[in-house]
Structure formats: C-alpha cells, structure tokens
Assembly symmetry: C2
Homo-oligomer: 562 residues x 2
C-alpha cells in the first residue's frame, strides 16, 4: 500500500456497501454493517465492523445527505447491524500496511467527519445518539464520543474501550483522548487507566466514570433507544421544513492534469508542484433580476444553487487533491465573476439563516468546507486579479490562505481597460463562517489588534482596491503589473523548495493563532502527537506494535522515553 490507490469521495446510498440509512419521521437510523470483503484496498478483511477510508467515505456521505435530503430528521441513531459488536475501530491490518501519508490523511478525514457529526448536533438540530448494541472499541468508541448521547447495552460482555495504546502502541487519534477529558469530562486519572486497559469498561462503572451516559438491559434495548431518540427529537431546535434537496451526482471531469466541476476547476502543474484552483462566481441567472430574491429560488435550483454547488465542488476537490495528489504542495486560489452576485447569494442565505433550514444548511456546509482548508497540509496562496470576485464567502478563501497577492492596477499588456481588482468584506466574513477555534478568520487575522479589526469591519460592502486592502491588512502583498509575475513565481517556487514537513508544521501553527477548542486540540495537540507516534519504529517499524499486532509476535520497543 505504499503506492496509494486513487480514491473517489463521491458516492450515494445506492452504492453503499457498509451502511444502511433509514429515516422514520423525525428519527433516522444509520446502521453500520461493514462488508468484510468490501475494503477500499486489497489485503485486509474488514472484520468486526472495523473500518477503512471507504467505510468512512460512506458515513460522511450519509451524514451530508441527512442534512440536505432529510430536513425532517431531528435525531440520528448510530448503531450496528452486527451481533454484539458496534464497531471495532479502524482496521489494524489496513493501518499496519498503510504508508505514513495515508495514515495521516485517513485520520484527518475521519476526524472531520466526526466533527461534522458534532456540528449537526450543535448547529443543525440533528442530534446524534450512539446506540452501542455491542462493544465499541478504539475508533468505534471514538465514533460514539462524537455523538451527544451514548447508550451501551448492559449484557456483561459489551464494553467501550480505547485499546490503541496497550495493543497497538499508538493513540486513539480520532479525537478520543480529547473528547474523553474535554467533552465528556472523564477524570484524567480514570481516563489514563481506561486507556491502558485493553479489555475496556462496561456496566455501571462505564456510567460512573462518564464513559457512557446510560446502560440498558438487552431486553429493554429497543424500547429505550426509541424513547431516547424520540425524546431528543422532541426538544430539537431543527428548523421546520421539507422535503429535502437531493444532492445530485457531482459533475466532475478528471484528466491527467486537471479536475473540473461546474464552478470550480483545478489545473495541476506537477513540475512546479502547484494546483491552480479557480472558483467561478454565480452566473447571472442564479437569482431573479427583477424583484427581491427569495429562498424559493434556492429551493427551485436545489443542489444547483451556486453557494451549495460551490461548497460541494470545493469539498470534493479538497478531498481529492489531499488524498490523490500528495506531491502537489501548493494550492493557489483565484476567483472569476461578479462580486455583487456572490454577495447577493450570501445575503439571501444569511437573511434566512434563522428561519429556513436550507439556508442554514448551506451556510454550515460552507463553514465546514472552509474548515477543511484550514487543516489541509498544503500551502495556500490567494491570487487576486482583475475580473475576480473575492467578496464575502469567496473572500474567505483569501483569508484561509497563508498568503495573498493582490494586483495593484491592471495587467497593462493583457487588458489595460480592465477594472482593477477589488475585494469586499461582507456579512459572511463577520461571523457565520468561523474557524475551528471559534473565531472568524478576520478575528484570527487581527488577533490582539481590535482597532485593525474595527477599521476593516467599517469597510463592509465597499469595493477595496489593492492599496487600501494592503493598508487595512487584508492582503499580504500588493505588487503592480511590473512585479507581479516575479513575486508570485518566487513565492510558489520557494514553497516547492522547502521541506514539506516543516511547511506542514509552520502552517499548522500560524493558522491557529488564538484560542483552542476541542476541535483545534484534536487537529493540533492530538494529531501532531499521533503523527509523531505513527512515524516512530515503536509503532510502524518492522517490530513495531502496529505491525506486530495479530501476528503472535510481541512488539520490540526502544524503551527510551522522548
């Protein structure tokens, strides 16, 4: 598995191998029933409801569809189709055989999916309940930890456990360590004991230690799960509405050196290790030209509505490039189109955010997609040129970037009559699209400098040309026509010459100035330690615990404490 297979993230329920999705009024049940032979890559069997990236891609798809296609659903019950086994976690054979980048990418995606579960619970009124009808071990328990409530069957054999450390010499890296103490408030010394006890904990002690919320005898299982899920649904803040919007198949064309969707395209320059991404703004027909725009227009267009389509296309592109193009270390972002229309779409969504489920879902999806960028281990550079539409939601691409270049004036030889590029702060930049640290990208940018932030906020709605944007601190550099090519070229080439590892570390630190949350702790503290552990021979060497597991051999550790 050193040569990583090409992975496609697009799927749909009809193609699921591992999950069943059943909506029954306000309660949906998502049942994990992994096909042992359905691994994404040959070489392992997905026994005991263990999962690989393919299983998680389906879960991600199911969660997305619940939000858009099932607006009536207020509670999602996550359970297992196997007997006495909820989920045994990530498949060990798969992990043991996987390359380091694959492991890291796999964990990042699974973490994002679990954060998406919490986002649905917190912001979308779709509350997740883990109905552990059998043992939840390792990543299986971590999946449960992402839910709002955890019910565990009380049958003297079903337990929750985090056996990664004692059995595999790695961490529960899908949020487990962070959520145990920071979300569920398990006492740290009990958490320590729990995470070294491979056989897990069930019964009353699991409740006393706060590892689960409730234990339920098997005879009352169905009744209690139903009661809890209806109870949760009855207090849900889900906005009313329905029917849903179908997430139709994304129109995607992939060639050797390009990936294209309707509004998003990437040119892959492998020699320079750059993906040049262009996002096109809404067409003139996105909203009616006469009369005020309304959500009826959005419902009519469904998945084709620009904001939603762009979120989906960007989402898929990010995942594709991250997984399949790991030697392309820099992504540049350009936009093309009408800033007014971007702002009009933004405005329509925000005007209905508090009352319309679909408006809210689209905004939340934009938020999650942009968050993916923040944790992407690629250098991000925004290039702001004439004809672009970096405004509101699309301006977030520039704020997510590690650097931005904005052309002062125009390209004299190309089109001397063009209007100079502008950027526009809109309401989407001032709150609805926070980063994982719970601050907007603007607040993170101007951390500790409230005056600069206030000055920027005051310009909302104004078209800012390069010089002003630079003075306000909204773009990094504002070269003119004469310097542009050289400056941008150097930035991109330099990036390709630096250590990819050091860039990943640098960006992971600078992007997350300011406070930390459970989410940023998972991607920062927990993931960074896990990546180190994954790379060490004690886990992944020929005698490491991850590779020794199941072979009958004992791991041979270098005992030095580092």
């Amino acid at each position: 598995m050193d040569a990583m297979p090409h992975v496609e993230f697009r799927t749909s329920p009809a193609r699921y191998k591992h999950w069943r999705l059943a909506a029954d009024g306000p309660v949906a049940t998502v049942t994990m029933d992994v096909d042992e032979q359905g691994g994404l890559v040959p070489g392992y069997e997905l026994k005991l409801n263990s999962y690989d990236l393919g299983v998680d891609i389906e879960l991600y798809d199911a969660i997305q569809r619940l939000r858009f296609e099932h607006p009536e659903v207020k509670t999602v019950v996550l359970t297992s189709g196997k007997d006495r086994m909820f989920c045994a976690g990530a498949n060990i054979r798969m992990l043991a055989a996987a390359s380091h980048p694959w492991k890291v990418n796999f964990c990042k995606f699974t973490n994002e999916t679990r954060n998406g579960i919490e986002d649905a619970t917190a912001n979308s009124g779709q509350t997740y309940i883990a109905a552990l009808n059998g043992t939840a071990s390792g990543g299986g328990y971590e999946l449960a930890l992402a839910c709002e409530q955890i019910l565990l069957v009380d049958d003297r054999s079903s337990v929750v456990s985090l056996p990664e450390l004692p059995l595999l010499g790695v961490l529960p890296g899908t949020g487990g360590l962070t959520r145990v103490v920071d979300k569920r408030h398990v006492r740290r010394d009990l958490a320590d004991y729990f995470s070294t006890k491979s056989e897990g904990i069930g019964g009353k002690k699991a409740v006393q230690w706060k590892l689960v919320d409730e234990i339920v005898p098997r005879v009352r299982w169905d009744e209690i799960v139903s009661e809890r899920s209806r109870g949760s649904a009855s207090t849900s803040a889900r906005l009313p509405g329905g029917p849903g919007i179908e997430l139709t198949a994304l129109d995607k064309v992939r060639t050797e050196d390009s990936i294209s969707y309707e509004h998003v395209a990437a040119r892959l320059d492998r020699d320079r290790a750059v993906a040049a991404i262009t996002v096109t703004g809404p067409s003139a027909t996105v909203l009616p030209t006469t009369g005020p725009p309304s959500m009826a227009d959005v419902y009519a267009q469904g998945a084709a509505f620009w904001s939603l389509a762009v979120a989906r296309e960007l989402d898929d592109l990010i995942l594709d490039l991250r997984t399949n193009e790991i030697e392309i270390g820099t992504w540049t972002f350009e936009t093309a189109g009408s800033a007014d229309r971007v702002l009009a779409c933004d405005e329509l969504l925000l005007a209905n955010y508090d009352t319309d489920w679909l408006a809210r879902e689209i905004v939340l999806y934009l938020k999650r997609t942009l968050k993916r960028l923040d944790v992407t281990s690629r250098s991000l550079i925004a290039l702001i040129k004439p004809g672009s539409c970096f405004a509101g939601s699309l301006l977030e691409l520039a704020f997510a970037a590690d650097r931005s270049y904005m052309l002062t004036g125009v390209f004299e030889e190309e089109d001397r009559e063009a209007d100079p590029a502008t950027i526009t702060i809109g309401p989407m930049n001032l709150g609805p699209l926070p980063m994982g640290n719970d601050l907007t990208r603007l607040r993170t940018r101007f951390l500790g400098d409230p005056d600069a932030l206030a000055a920027v906020e005051k310009t909302a709605g104004e078209r800012l040309e390069a010089e002003e944007a630079e003075q306000l601190g909204l773009v990094t550099f504002a070269p003119d026509d004469i310097d542009w090519d050289e400056e941008v070229r150097i930035a991109v080439e330099e990036r390709a010459s630096f250590s990819p590892d050091a860039l990943t570390g640098l960006e992971a630190n600078y992007r997350f100035a300011g406070p930390e949350t459970i989410e940023t702790k998972i991607f920062g503290r927990l993931t960074a330690w896990q990546n180190w552990i994954f790379y060490r021979p004690n886990a992944s060497g020929p005698d490491g615990a991850l590779r020794a597991y199941g072979t009958g051999k004992r791991a041979d550790f270098d005992r030095k404490r580092v």
Copy 2:
C-alpha cells in the same frame, strides 16, 4: 552523540563560560558571550553566539539567581557581548549530530527557561528587555520573543529572523511560532512570509510588522537601552526587599542506582524502569515551636528553608532524570513526614505572598517546578501510604501524577498500629500553583464538574482517609493491604511494557484537559509538530536539511505533503 553525555544542571556564576551577570541597582544586564570552544559535547564550535544545552543551563541559573539573590533587580537587560550578533540560535552542528531524545529534551528545557523569563516578567516584577545589539536569528530571536520588550539596533545589517524552515527544514521550536502570532500579534500572513525569508527583517519594517518594539540607531543605543530599562524598572511591581538569599550549592549524592539530596531521594530500578522518588517533609525545627512563625525564620534559613530547598532539589532531580535516565519511564512519588508542617510552611508563604518578595519567589518556584512535571515525558504515579505527608504543596505531586494509589487502612504486617494515610487539601491546592493552562491541577482534574470541585474545596484542612479521598475523586484507587502490592506492581509493570512513545502522547493529551495558553500551545501544538519534523528524514535523515546545512550539499526532500 548517540550516547548521550551525563549532564549536570547545577552551576553558579563563578563557573559560567558563556554569560556575564552584572547587577547595577534596579537594572541587571545578562550578557551572552558564548565561548566557542565551550560546548557541552565535543564535535562543534559555538560560533556567533550560538548555544547548546550547556549555554542554556547557565542562562537558567542566572535567571534563578536574579530572582533569589538580586531582589533589588526590577529590569533585566538581555544582550550580547559579540559585535553585531546578538545570538544565532541553537547550534546547528550540535542539533544535526544529536539523537532524537536529546533534541527533544534540549528543546523542552530551553522552552521552560524562556517560560521562566516570562514568569519573572509577569509575576515577579523582574521585567526582561531584549537589547538586540546585533542580529537575532532563530533561537536567538525566540529568546528575544520571551522578553517583554525587544529593541533592535538600526544599522542596516542587524535583523531578526526565523530561518529554521528555509535553511534547516525544521520549525522555530522554542516558542517562536506561537509567540510571533499569539504574543506579539504579528499578522499570520506576514509571519508566514517572515518565517520563510532566511535573511530576516530589520529596520522600520520590523517595527511595522510588530517583530520588534523599537529600532534604535547605534549612536543612541546605550542611551536608549538605559532609558528603557530604567523606565521599565520605575514602573515595576517588584516587591521591595533585599538583600537576597544565596542559592548555595545543592548537596547531591549520585550513585549508580540513586540520587539523593537533603529532602528528596530517588532510587533507580533500571530493571523495572522505575525511579522511586521520596520527598521528606519539613523537620521539626523548620519553624519555631513557640510563637507565630514569621518570614524572619525563612530569611534566617535562606536556601535551607524547607519549601525552597525542596523546590530546588525536585527541580534538579527532574532535570537529571529527564536528561540522564531516559530509559526509566515511570516515576513514583512517595512522601514521608508531617503534613502539619508542610501546611505550616505553605501557610507562612501564602500569608506573605503579597508583601514579601521571598515568600512570593518561593511559591513561584514551586509552581515552575511542578509545571516541569506536567510536561515530563514519564509516567507519574503517586503512592500514598501511612507516614506520608501529601498535604498542600506536596499533594500537588499526587495531582500532577497520571494516577494515584492510596492505601486503605494500614500494612498489617509492617505496622498495624500505624495511623492510616491521609491527604489534606490546603490553600496551595486552590490557586497559587496553576498548571501551564492557568488552571489549578484540581480544576483541571474536575473540569466540567463544579460540584465535585466544590465538595473537595469544602474539605480544605481536613485529614482525608483513603475511602473518602477516593469518593471525592482525589485519588484514583484505594486498595487495601491485601491488594496493594499486586495492584501497584501491575500498574508499574504494565507501564514498562507499553510503547514509550504512545505513553508520551497519551500523557501529553490527558494532562492538559481544558483551555490552552501560549505556554501549553508551545508544549502541545508546536512541540508535537516539531518532534515529528525532527524525526522525519527530510530533517534528520542522511540527506535531510538539518544534516545538509553547512556541508555545501542541498537537502534532498521526499516531496510528499503529509
């Protein structure tokens, strides 16, 4: 340098090779003037005021002495004795040759020392000013970042820089990335540019970007540095007092299998990979038996006063074991003595914390020493038995531990007449000794459970036996005589059987539940990424950037982005 040399942390100004300490009334000047030939280990020259662990050990000693031996000092000017070079950072040849554990340990200690500089500024009224009379590069600039003000000479050649990423393929890992954005609030995109520009930034732009506070022409250098330092001293909140307390040489005996001081001793069991540490409480003569105890008693005893002596001994022991005994993965903590006298010492110090500089310094030193434990990559287990004195400041050892075992009842065969062990919450547990996350260990322990915390606080001053302590959540387990040996043995043996790397990661996550601060971000996010990068071939492999630097060879990177 794969075989790590034995390192001794005890030193004194008379033995400094690399620093000069000059106190002049309220202003002290600490001058870095590194002896090129004075490296701790053969094989490199400490050119351009670059440093190794030996240089930093002296700096740490100087900082400690300023606090205790120079209470009159309110401002400390950190400057260089070299021409046009403040400090070139950590020595690259040293780093390139160092083993992974050595690198990590080195960074941890230097980080703690820089945090100590900030602690002196924030809590002790000794404000640090970096007077950069030449270039401050890499770790040199990171040292400046730990200071409250940074002055840079404006001479068209002196700059500040973080060239680690472009030149060495590693991070500025001594707090640099965190302090640039989180402390100095340099905008993240400017920080990104700055950290990829190996030649650094000086002059006005360094001020505009907030990299330094002020640039000063060379002709006015002495005058302005003097003005700023006197100005800072005049507004210092340093408590009045003097003369200082001499930090006399620590009495330490090290044998093959033990390290002993007056109040602290460690038995090293290499077979079981355990250091059994015992801290002895104050003797009967520590405070007068008649009349109320007063700070006069403390001044009379000086460095021999129990609380200060224990802080120093523990501090040295932690550093010694961390650096010299890296295969000893578990430390157990026991105490012996009178809980009343521990609490009496605590009380005396806290009663005078707001008015007496020495009382405050001792408490702050206890705090820093306990913080070292929190970031120590060893499993910590507290063993609470009859005859122990886990009360107040010493009880923090149990709260810092990953787990604690407290004997219920007594050892029947050993001494059936003994009093059962008790623990006592004192005022030291309720505020003055916070962790790096700014919460007390008790608050971190009971995160999200204010009722449990309140119940514990209510017991302050009470002697709590094992059962009650366990019910209150203050100890992990309370086995009786029959189970004790077996339970403790299993805990210790298990620990020795686990992956040392995974334990380090587990502990680094569970110990820091709750909020993150600049300090915890440095030890969590930044350090964890740096450790990963340090371990990757792109930095430390035969063709890695760290090893290629200065050889004329170009680093050969695996270009995969992870």
